[in-house]
């Protein structure tokens, strides 16, 4: 079972990654200009009040002490309480992160659903009209900023055609997916453009491989040649790109959630930055970072499954 031991090895490799994430987060959050006390009390706060709050939050202790305190608590699953909202960070994150996760997953699915068939058409009609149209359209999609695409989609499909809600989030799963569709599409467009370009090039490359000729010489049905011999090999490089781009996708989710008023982790993140809500900011950064490295792991596993030469 080379794949199994490969997965175990990759899981173990995540431990140092997580420790590194903790250190970086801790340092970054403290490098932000301003401090929570001033943010809470306003510009004209008295020094005594600021000091009292800093003391209550443990922010007057040496950084290294703060770090170990921070690491110890995180290890026990305690991410502290939000300074602004006065509730536990963990419950906030558990409330908001799944929304972002769903948005990201939905947009990844949409991006793939757009990219894979169109990449095939573009590759097989290379340098013909269909190829130019597909590539031209995606080029435009790729060069437009996410928030701009979001506003256009919002104006056309939600405000004017009233096909989708203007914002918010539902309660049942179908309702949630319905609310998330436009933001997910917004997020998916530029992502699918990147995937499509890569997959098209990759398919063209694989199509010319000898083993595709051999598969043809075996008299296989064209569906088998397309899916088993061409797509599978072509996806190997696209999966790598997919993994590398997933961080960007989370970043895009933050912006999209703001445009569509989706109550996800992205909005929470922005609020926590403005409010100097260190515990929330820390908690979110760590969760997002771990989530991204988990998707790296997942794409690695998918890749090892696609290409047996990797898992050795």
């Amino acid at each position: 079972m080379p794949l199994f031991s490969f997965v175990i090895r990759r899981l173990l490799q995540m431990i140092p990654t997580v420790i590194f994430i903790l250190i970086v987060t801790f340092v970054l959050v403290r490098m932000l200009p301003g401090d929570p006390a001033s943010a809470m009390l306003g510009d004209r706060a008295r020094d005594a009040d600021v000091n009292r709050i800093n003391h209550e939050l443990g922010l007057d202790r040496p950084l290294i002490v703060q770090f170990f305190y921070f690491a110890e608590r995180i290890a026990t699953g305690d991410l502290g309480n939000s300074i602004g909202l006065k509730v536990s960070v963990l419950s906030l994150i558990m409330d908001r992160l799944p929304v972002t996760l769903m948005l990201t997953a939905l947009s990844a699915v949409i991006a793939l659903a757009l990219a894979v068939p169109l990449a095939f058409v573009a590759a097989f009609k290379r340098e013909k009209l269909a190829d130019s149209v597909i590539r031209g359209t995606f080029q435009v999609g790729l060069s437009m900023p996410v928030f701009y695409v979001g506003i256009i989609l919002l104006t056309v499909f939600a405000a004017q055609l009233k096909l989708f809600p203007v914002g918010g989030y539902g309660t049942t799963l179908p309702d949630k997916l319905y609310h998330l569709f436009l933001p997910a599409l917004t997020l998916a467009l530029s992502f699918s453009a990147v995937l499509m370009r890569n997959l098209r090039a990759s398919i063209i490359n694989v199509m010319n491989a000898e083993y595709v000729d051999f598969a043809t010489a075996k008299g296989l049905k064209s569906r088998v040649i397309l899916l088993r011999h061409i797509l599978r090999n072509a996806l190997i490089s696209t999966v790598t790109l997919f993994g590398l781009q997933i961080g960007t996708l989370f970043g895009g989710a933050v912006i999209t959630e703001t445009v569509f008023a989706v109550p996800g982790a992205g909005r929470l993140l922005i609020d926590s930055i403005y409010g100097r809500d260190y515990p929330v900011l820390q908690g979110l950064t760590i969760s997002l970072a771990i989530l991204v490295s988990l998707t790296f792991l997942l794409t690695d596993i998918i890749q090892a499954w696609l290409d047996p030469r990797i898992a050795r």
Binding site: A215, G219, R232, L306, P308, R309
Partner: protein, 340 residues
């Protein structure tokens, strides 16, 4: 050698493979490359035909053209008759059934012809799935049987392994197993034994001859090894710069080559004793396919060449039953002293 089988025809009256005027060109940046020109040859049921010639003479292109595997922008014209039907003009679905089922091909490079991400077993079984109604377990059993036939040890385990886990020789055999999976009526074998050592080469060739006898399978065998031709083929065709320049039974061609190029190839082969000798290199280099010389393409390297060779291309003339040669001076060549 069982040359007599060459005369038999299949009960349903098909004539095996008939290739007429097969021409394959590639539009390259340096001009039109004529990789195969006016190729004519027949392969009767149960016959083994050797196709020999220097590197780049168009042997692989000819096999690929027969299987209609030449991609755009390559162009193929001419006729390839199989069972009375023309493969060149055949509709896609009909052609799919012929490929792998009735006509199978062994590629020259097993390293690149096998799909790197699929287990060998899958690559054998998908062939069976495309052409037979066997169930999953029957396909597995047949795959196992094929692995044993081509001499891959530990077949059960190896079915689940990937090409990169196979050695060169094992890959070669795996490819032969794939090609033979559906018991084809015609096997196009592009140097099937080059990567193998002599004993295994003999085993594989014996296997092919055995299948020929049992299934009346015809074989077109591309090889550099004239010893292999002598040992396994009924008839042979010699290619030079994309054209067939001489055909005949192996015995006739070896005994009395009528083309100076064939004569050159045979030059180093001892008439008796050691049979295994690679093609002898002939002085000079083959011409560029985009700038073939006027007249006979071989004339710049030919010691028999005269004025006519520089101006007129010799046609592939019939000089006896099943014996053809394309040379203005073939009688002179045939009468010349053996080079030995």
């Amino acid at each position: 050698m069982t040359a007599s089988t060459a005369q038999t025809t299949m009960s349903d009256g098909t004539k095996g493979l008939v290739v007429r005027g097969l021409t394959t060109t590639f539009d390259t940046t340096r001009g039109l490359a004529i990789a195969a020109a006016d190729v004519d040859f027949d392969v009767a049921p149960g016959e083994v035909v050797g196709l020999v010639g220097e590197s780049g003479s168009g042997k692989s292109v000819t096999l690929r053209s027969i299987m209609r595997l030449i991609r755009e922008p390559g162009k193929v014209s001419g006729r390839v008759e199989w069972g009375g039907r023309d493969l060149v003009a055949m509709p896609a679905e009909e052609l799919r059934k012929v490929r792998g089922g009735e006509i199978a091909m062994i590629f020259q490079e097993p390293m690149t012809a096998l799909n790197p991400v699929l287990p060998i077993g899958v690559q054998i079984e998908e062939n069976l799935k495309a052409h037979t109604g066997l169930t999953g377990s029957q396909r597995r059993a047949r795959a196992l049987e094929l692995m044993n036939i081509v001499g891959i040890p530990a077949a059960e385990r190896r079915l689940d392994e990937y090409p990169h886990q196979f050695s060169g020789g094992m890959r070669q055999r795996a490819m032969i197993a794939i090609a033979l999976a559906c018991s084809p009526k015609l096997l196009l074998a592009d140097e099937p034994t080059t990567a193998l050592d002599v004993t295994i080469q003999d085993q594989i060739l014996k296997l092919l001859l055995d299948l020929r006898d049992r299934l009346a399978m015809s074989v077109v065998l591309v090889t550099h090894d004239l010893g292999v031709v002598a040992a396994t083929c009924d008839r042979m065709a010699v290619m030079y710069a994309g054209r067939i320049v001489e055909t005949g039974t192996v015995a006739e061609v070896f005994a009395r080559p009528h083309h100076p190029y064939t004569r050159g190839l045979l030059g180093s082969v001892p008439r008796s004793g050691h049979s295994r000798t690679m093609l002898q290199s002939i002085d000079g280099t083959p011409p560029s396919l985009t700038a073939l010389p006027q007249g006979c393409a071989f004339h710049p390297r030919c010691s028999f060449a005269t004025e006519i060779c520089r101006t007129d291309r010799p046609p592939l003339d019939l000089i006896g039953a099943g014996r053809r040669v394309a040379c203005h001076h073939h009688e002179e060549v045939a009468a010349a002293e053996p080079i030995l």
